[in-house]
């Protein structure tokens, strides 16, 4: 085992991909300088600024450049610095990248990766804190992954670069600098496979990205009260490993879905709908959803803290599915 961070694993994976495949290039704002979080630090020194290409602040154009480069044989990794700015690239991503293969009758392929990061908790206010994964998961043709730990971001980024489709890798800024221990020789992480993070027989908690850690904290608290929660991290939203979730729900008969995004229209609704369709007879309680309120992320620190879903919300939701509401709730 060795100690690392989520961010260091992104950097190391990019180094490895670029060494192994001359078609891989990194495109984005300030990437040659390492970017605001140092995800791409040192790449330009080794691979040069032809392959580590700084761009102007032109999200629409640089997304188009990545698409054209991918259609013409390269393997671009595009960085959109904050997922909040993906709005500016969405025409290219949604109307071109996602549809090129289908609309061309299979002639075109767009093997590009769009790396971006989301999430609140750093007082970034409403335009630097969002969780917009459900927008992307709604678009056929895109694959969407959302790793919650260092070993998964390395494995999924590597799989994304090798994938023949456009893949959006949504990182979490709040996970970047946490120290983690990973195996020296980690297993590959294929796109589309969930991970059971913790086993338990009383309630299934499906959590995305930062909420995986919150779900584990809630599970510890529940365990102290004699309730064993199973925690599942889908890791990939599209294609979703539904079977892993359904298999768990068949045993626990209860489901909580938790993410940081606004609950309204969030990806948790999709998981809930598909689980009830596949396992309605196994459910002993309504599916509980945990997510942010239907409001922009507030700036003021106490308000942001109150706004963000966390382990307390997951704990309360799990107790609710068991018909044992938490004391005082």
């Amino acid at each position: 085992m060795r100690e690392t961070t989520y961010l260091k694993e992104i950097n190391a994976t990019l180094f490895e991909a670029m060494r192994g495949d001359p078609r891989v290039l990194v495109i984005g704002e300030d990437v040659a300088e390492g970017g605001p979080y140092t995800a791409t630090a040192g790449l330009a020194e080794e691979f040069g600024t032809d392959r580590i290409r700084n761009t102007p602040i032109s999200e629409a154009a640089i997304c188009g450049v990545a698409i054209g480069a991918a259609q013409s044989g390269l393997r671009p990794v595009l960085e959109i610095m904050f997922i909040d700015f993906i709005t500016l690239a969405l025409d290219q991503l949604v109307n071109a990248a996602a549809k090129a293969h289908s609309m061309s009758g299979g002639q075109l392929r767009v093997p590009m990766v769009l790396r971006t990061q989301g999430g609140a908790g750093q007082r970034g206010a409403a335009q630097h804190s969002q969780s917009l994964e459900s927008w992307l998961a709604h678009v056929p043709g895109l694959k969407v992954v959302m790793p919650s730990r260092a070993v998964d971001v390395a494995g999924l980024l590597s799989s994304a670069i090798a994938d023949p489709n456009p893949v959006v890798v949504i990182e979490s800024k709040t996970l970047y600098f946490r120290r983690e221990r990973v195996p020296d020789e980690p297993e590959p992480v294929p796109i589309g496979r969930a991970r059971t993070v913790r086993e338990g027989g009383d309630v299934t908690i499906v959590a995305l990205s930062r909420l995986v850690g919150e779900a584990l904290a809630a599970a510890d608290r529940l365990a102290a009260e004699g309730i064993e929660a199973e925690v599942i991290d889908p890791r990939t939203l599209v294609p979703l490993d539904l079977e892993a979730v359904v298999e768990s729900v068949r045993r626990t008969n209860r489901l909580v879905v938790a993410h940081e995004a606004v609950a309204h229209g969030g990806f948790g609704a999709e998981i809930a709908a598909r689980v009830q369709a596949a396992a309605f007879d196994h459910l002993d309680a309504p599916i509980e959803r945990v997510g942010a309120p239907f409001a922009p992320v507030p700036f003021s620190p106490p308000l942001e803290d109150a706004y963000l879903p966390g382990s307390e919300d997951v704990y309360v939701a799990a107790r609710t599915t068991l018909g044992r509401p938490a004391a005082g709730s």
């Binding site: 290039l25 032809d50 392959r51 761009t55 102007p56 032109s58 629409a60 154009a61 640089i62 997304c63 188009g64 450049v65 990545a66 698409i67 054209g68 480069a69 991918a70 259609q71 013409s72 044989g73 390269l74 671009p76 025409d91 290219q92 109307n95 071109a96 090129a100 293969h101 289908s102 609309m103 061309s104 009758g105 299979g106 002639q107 075109l108 392929r109 093997p111 056929p140 043709g141 694959k143 994938d163 023949p164 489709n165």
Partner: protein
């Protein structure tokens, strides 16, 4: 016409009689193809939103005649002429417009999304100006792959006011990509004249601050288009770029088939005969002794037969199987 910053004196290939006749044949094929498409649209055999380039054929012909098969070409929503000029088989374009499985895109793309990778047509788009940045990506791939391929993107003057166009021109000049931007300035952005969209009349003036090589020509004169584009292409092939060729032209039809076009006066028949790029080349070529009236008639007859054959081919092609919908969403699912 007005050359702003003149291109470096790259050699434009001399035009021989055969090439002149080939230009005429390409324009005539596009014209007859699209006239037939208009009929078939009214008969509900061709489907969807159809944008015809009748009157603008000289740009497609003059540009594509000089490109190699591996030069990537992108287009917009008015793309039939570009596809045909780049070498896409008429029958497969027609089948695509009819939504048939033997269409270029197996019937999943339609008129606005023609792609023919075999002939270097990497795509048309229904998003105005949307393929301009994508063409940059192909030019970047050529650069990094040490290839002398030149990327070309066609767009109308309506695209020039979009943010992604301006982002792209900035980036293409910053990176010095071998890209030629070909603007078909027909004076109308969908239903409104250019004057209602911008105070800048000429597209070559819009991009002037970027100091890229640019030229404005009479886009209804196929010889002028060919000459100007040839100079630009030679320079781009040598690694200099990007460049912009603005072709002033005229859209005979409405924005789309079915558009009553009440927003403008149709050109008088005799005025149009003066400006029609096909008639102009016919008159000029016969006067110059490049070809005679019999050759002109043969070109028209051959084009008519090719279009009829394309319609026959398309009509007998089946509609695509419903399984294709799911198979083609991802490149690692099913075929593709």
């Amino acid at each position: 016409m007005s050359g702003r910053r003149q291109p470096p004196a790259g050699p434009a290939a001399e035009l021989d009689d055969g090439q002149a006749l080939a230009l005429l044949a390409t324009m005539r094929r596009i014209r007859l193809f699209e006239e037939r498409v208009a009929q078939l649209k009214r008969a509900d055999e061709v489907h969807g939103l159809i944008h015809l380039s009748i009157g603008q054929e000289a740009v497609a012909a003059g540009v594509c005649a000089q490109l190699r098969g591996d030069d990537p070409v992108y287009s917009g929503h008015r793309a039939h002429g570009h596809a045909i000029a780049k070498g896409a088989p008429l029958e497969r374009v027609m089948a695509e417009l009819m939504g048939r499985v033997d269409g270029l895109c197996s019937g999943l793309g339609g008129s606005m999304h023609l792609v023919d990778t075999e002939h270097g047509l990497l795509g048309a788009t229904g998003v105005v100006g949307g393929n301009v940045p994508i063409a940059l990506g192909s030019a970047l791939a050529a650069r990094l792959g040490d290839s002398d391929r030149v990327a070309v993107v066609f767009f109308g003057d309506g695209a020039v006011q979009a943010g992604h166009f301006n982002e792209s021109v900035n980036l293409a000049t910053l990176w010095g990509l071998s890209l030629i931007l070909v603007c078909e300035n027909n004076g109308f952005a969908e239903f409104t004249p250019r004057s209602a969209h911008t105070n800048i009349e000429r597209v070559s003036d819009v991009v002037a601050p970027y100091d890229l090589t640019r030229e404005t020509v009479d886009g209804n004169d196929v010889l002028a288009v060919r000459e100007a584009f040839g100079h630009l292409l030679a320079a781009a092939r040598a690694g200099r770029g990007p460049m912009l060729l603005e072709c002033l032209t005229h859209r005979v039809r409405g924005h789309y088939e079915g558009d009553p076009a009440r927003y403008r006066e149709a050109l008088a028949e005799e005025d149009w005969r003066e400006r029609d790029p096909i008639l102009r080349l016919e008159r000029h070529g016969v006067a110059a002794g490049w070809f005679d009236g019999d050759a002109v008639a043969a070109v028209e007859r051959d084009a008519g037969e090719a279009v009829s054959e394309a319609v026959r081919f398309a009509r007998q092609s089946p509609f695509p199987p419903a399984e294709l919908i799911a198979e083609l969403v991802y490149a690692d699912r099913g075929r593709g």
